[in-house]
């Protein structure tokens, strides 16, 4: 029988062992969580896996799994945290960024990640690779980079570029392996090589992308919930374009995660005990349509204003989104710095005002209810992209426009053709929305230099250009946001854009999936995901 004295001496040790054991236990269960294959049902098909060529959110979501970025953005407060870069400084003039890189990081092909590799990555974005990819827009007025030793990278810009820290967190600016790029050439777009927690195993066109665990992964950002390799062995990223099919298969368990579920089905799915519905409000721009200011009749300010007054956002929220979202009154999402719901006062829903504006501008109602001026019908052409998200809203807005005497013609085109038609200025109404953590996205939407890219309103206003450039260069956060609000005010007064509804991401996740997270733009982070048996 141990004496009481012995017991008293042992007790602290027993407590310590128990506590340590308690702490160690989760580690043991952590090890048990490893393994398994996750099947992800994606809504849109991809055009390439090359981060520097793509212009699709669908591709960016996959890039996020196999590429690492210099920094990451904390979705809770929007602050920038270390990724592949441990620390960084910005020069006072805002033109030079110096990154101190993490050591002992390797690419999937075994070659080391260093400053030279990052320089190669950024330089490559400048080469004309054909399509205007988003990487080019994100990297802004990039001039050059310099590798100072193996672990320090200096990035220089032609003008001060304050959004760059946030841009460096976006997957299209993730690190790619120069060795792999040079070896694979054209084929790099099919099997790219990065440093991320997963590796691309294969891409079967129009069907799926298969990713496998990177066993050497040991450099997760501090923001992640664990360190070391990912839990999942494999991810099957399947392209399931039909919304009703996605709804069906998340319920049958054929897939573990289904994104972008149909708003109409959400209420029913919430009742299903096997499925969890996750909602997120991404940073970026809301669902927005833009009038072409260079093409009649939308080159007429009265017409543009009238269209703005004719749009009933509440009806769209109710009918198309089934009350899962809210009307959008700013050119930015509520979770984006610079958000300002100014359209509510400048372009409110007021059909009688719309009619009055058109009357005063000389557009008189014709026999079929559509207005006519100088013998021309008030016809607007809206070229919308297939499976781009605006399909349900378009007929509703068409009906609303008809109420005030405008005839919107709807034409559906595949994404690539739509982009081409927009660049050729063939449209009166264009559409685009972004998942993006910074208000500088407005440069991509409205600047003259974006005319070759995503400038849907075909706007070329020197004053707006100058203000956008200025805002992109400002380092003081407060005044910078004030300037973006001022720009939005001007754009609304000129009726150069109509934000419609806030973007809300709705993802269905089965009960066995643990650790699913959204990043700041609600893209999936699968690194911490494990499957419970």
């Amino acid at each position: 029988m141990p004496s009481r004295r012995l017991l008293r001496q042992l007790t602290p040790w027993l407590v310590l062992v128990t506590v340590l054991g308690g702490v160690a236990m989760p580690r043991l269960t952590v090890a048990a969580k490893a393994g398994g294959r996750l099947v992800f049902a994606a809504r849109q098909d991809i055009d390439t896996l090359d981060p520097h060529i793509t212009n699709r959110a669908a591709t960016r979501k996959i890039l996020l799994q196999f590429l690492d970025t210099l920094v990451v953005i904390d979705p809770k407060d929007g602050s920038v945290k270390p990724g592949l870069a441990e620390k960084w400084d910005v020069s006072p003039d805002g033109k030079t960024y110096t990154f101190h890189l993490r050591k002992n990081v390797k690419f999937h092909d075994g070659t080391p990640f260093d400053a030279a590799a990052m320089k190669f990555t950024f330089d490559r974005i400048q080469t004309p690779l054909g399509a205007p990819g988003v990487a080019r827009s994100f990297i802004g007025p990039y001039e050059s980079s310099e590798a100072v030793g193996a672990s320090t990278l200096r990035v220089r810009f032609k003008q001060p570029y304050s959004p760059f820290l946030r841009m460096a967190a976006l997957a299209p600016l993730g690190a790619i392996s120069p060795t792999a790029m040079q070896k694979l050439g054209d084929q790099f777009a099919r099997k790219p090589v990065g440093t991320g927690p997963f590796m691309v195993k294969e891409w079967i066109n129009k069907e799926q992308v298969v990713l496998v665990k990177n066993p050497a992964y040991n450099w997760a950002p501090a923001l992640a919930e664990h360190q070391g390799p990912a839990y999942l062995d494999e991810i099957q990223w399947r392209f399931v374009l039909e919304a009703p099919t996605r709804t069906a298969i998340i319920q049958t368990g054929e897939v573990n995660v289904a994104e972008d579920l149909s708003y109409a089905d959400v209420a029913g799915l919430e009742k299903n005990p096997d499925v969890r519905i996750l909602r997120g409000v991404p940073a970026g721009t809301p669902w927005t349509i833009y009038p072409n200011v260079q093409r009649p009749p939308t080159n007429d300010l009265a017409v543009r204003r009238a269209l703005g007054y004719a749009i009933n956002r509440d009806a769209i929220v109710r009918v198309v989104f089934h009350n899962e979202s809210k009307p959008a009154w700013s050119l930015l999402q509520p979770t984006t710095p610079g958000y300002a719901p100014l359209a509510k006062e400048i372009l409110p829903y007021d059909p009688s005002r719309a009619k009055k504006t058109l009357d005063e501008a000389g557009w008189k109602p014709g026999a079929d209810g559509i207005r006519v001026k100088d013998g021309k019908r008030l016809e607007l052409l809206w070229i919308f992209g297939a499976n781009n998200g605006y399909e349900e809203m378009a007929p509703l807005i068409q009906a609303m426009a008809r109420e005030v005497g405008m005839d919107i013609q709807l034409r559906e085109q595949p994404r690539a053709q739509m982009e081409e038609a927009n660049r050729k200025s063939e449209h009166n109404i264009g559409e685009v929305n972004w998942w993006f953590p910074d208000p500088s996205i407005m440069t991509t939407n409205f600047h003259t230099k974006s005319l070759f890219g995503f400038n849907r309103p075909r706007l070329s206003n020197p004053e707006i250009d100058q203000q956008l450039d200025q805002a992109a260069a400002m380092t003081a956060e407060g005044p910078r946001m004030e300037l973006y609000k001022k720009i939005q005010r001007t754009l609304f007064e000129q009726a150069d854009a109509y934000p419609l509804v806030d973007q809300v991401t709705i993802v269905g996740v089965r009960k066995e999936v643990k650790g699913y997270r959204f990043n700041v733009v609600t893209f999936p982070i699968l690194y911490d995901v494990s499957l419970e048996k």
Partner: protein, 278 residues
């Protein structure tokens, strides 16, 4: 024997009655309907079938029954138009090829064989992709893709009828070839052609609906059965009636057409059954 024919006739009568109703709706529909098929009423969105809206309302609050009636016209016209095109092409090529015989026949049939090698929907896809959206283009595309089937049938029958004694007699009497073809051959091959044409109407409606599903049909907000059926597919859980309306309309019309076609075939000549089995 007579019992069987009578039963068939009953089915055909039913089919014909349904078809008649559909045609009447297609022609007079827009005049009799009370509500505007284009009018959106978001407050009433997704109401199930009730007394006020027998087929319920769609996601925009539009009355589904009204849209089905209004859509009858476009759907039928597209189906009929396609068959008219196929018939014209088929008669033209088939009569010439069958009646002329020889090298002309050989050439035409090879061309037809080549045409048949291209899957009809793929052909329709390419035509619409080149010409653009809209019911007219769908009609042309489907019609062109059906021509080879008609040519084969018509030519086959022409070859058979050509050997008949009355045709020989006409030729012996010195009638010019064109007169022989039009006055003597054509009326005797018309029966199976009518049967095929009837069934082809059903095919056209279905192919047209499939093209709408692929995004190639008429543009919103025009009501049309194929387009409306396709648009309702995202609401199978919350609003099954949106698809059910146009879906039932398509099914009923197609079944009716098939019933009429079947009976026509039996009535006109049972022996022709083998010639029209395609």
């Amino acid at each position: 024997m007579t019992l069987r024919l009578l039963a068939r006739r009953k089915a055909a009568l039913l089919g014909a009655a349904v078809l008649g109703l559909v045609v009447v709706l297609a022609v007079a529909g827009p005049a009799i309907i009370r509500t505007d098929p284009l009018k959106m009423n978001p407050v009433l969105a997704l109401t199930p079938p009730n007394a006020e809206h027998p087929f319920g309302t769609d996601q925009y609050g539009r009355d589904v029954l009204t849209r089905v009636i209004a859509g009858a016209r476009l759907s039928l016209v597209t189906g009929l138009g396609a068959v008219v095109i196929a018939l014209a092409g088929g008669l033209g090529l088939g009569l010439v090829s069958g009646a002329a015989g020889g090298t002309v026949d050989l050439l035409v049939m090879r061309v037809v064989d080549v045409m048949m090698a291209f899957p009809s929907v793929l052909l329709a896809l390419v035509v619409v992709a080149v010409l653009g959206h809209g019911s007219t283009n769908v009609m042309v595309a489907v019609g062109v893709s059906l021509i080879p089937t008609f040519v084969r049938l018509i030519r086959g029958n022409v070859l058979v009828v050509r050997e008949q004694p009355y045709v020989e007699a006409a030729r012996a009497l010195g009638c010019r070839p064109r007169r022989v073809t039009l006055r003597h051959i054509l009326p005797n091959i018309i029966a199976p052609v009518i049967v095929l044409a009837t069934i082809a109407i059903a095919w056209s409606i279905i192919i047209g609906a499939s093209l709408s599903f692929l995004g190639l049909g008429p543009r919103p907000p025009i009501p049309e059965w194929g387009v409306d059926l396709s648009n309702g597919r995202n609401y199978l859980l919350r609003g099954w009636w949106i698809s059910a309306g146009p879906g039932i309309a398509i099914m009923t019309t197609v079944v009716a057409v098939n019933l009429v076609g079947d009976t026509l075939r039996d009535v006109l000549d049972p022996r022709l059954r083998s010639l029209t089995n395609l």
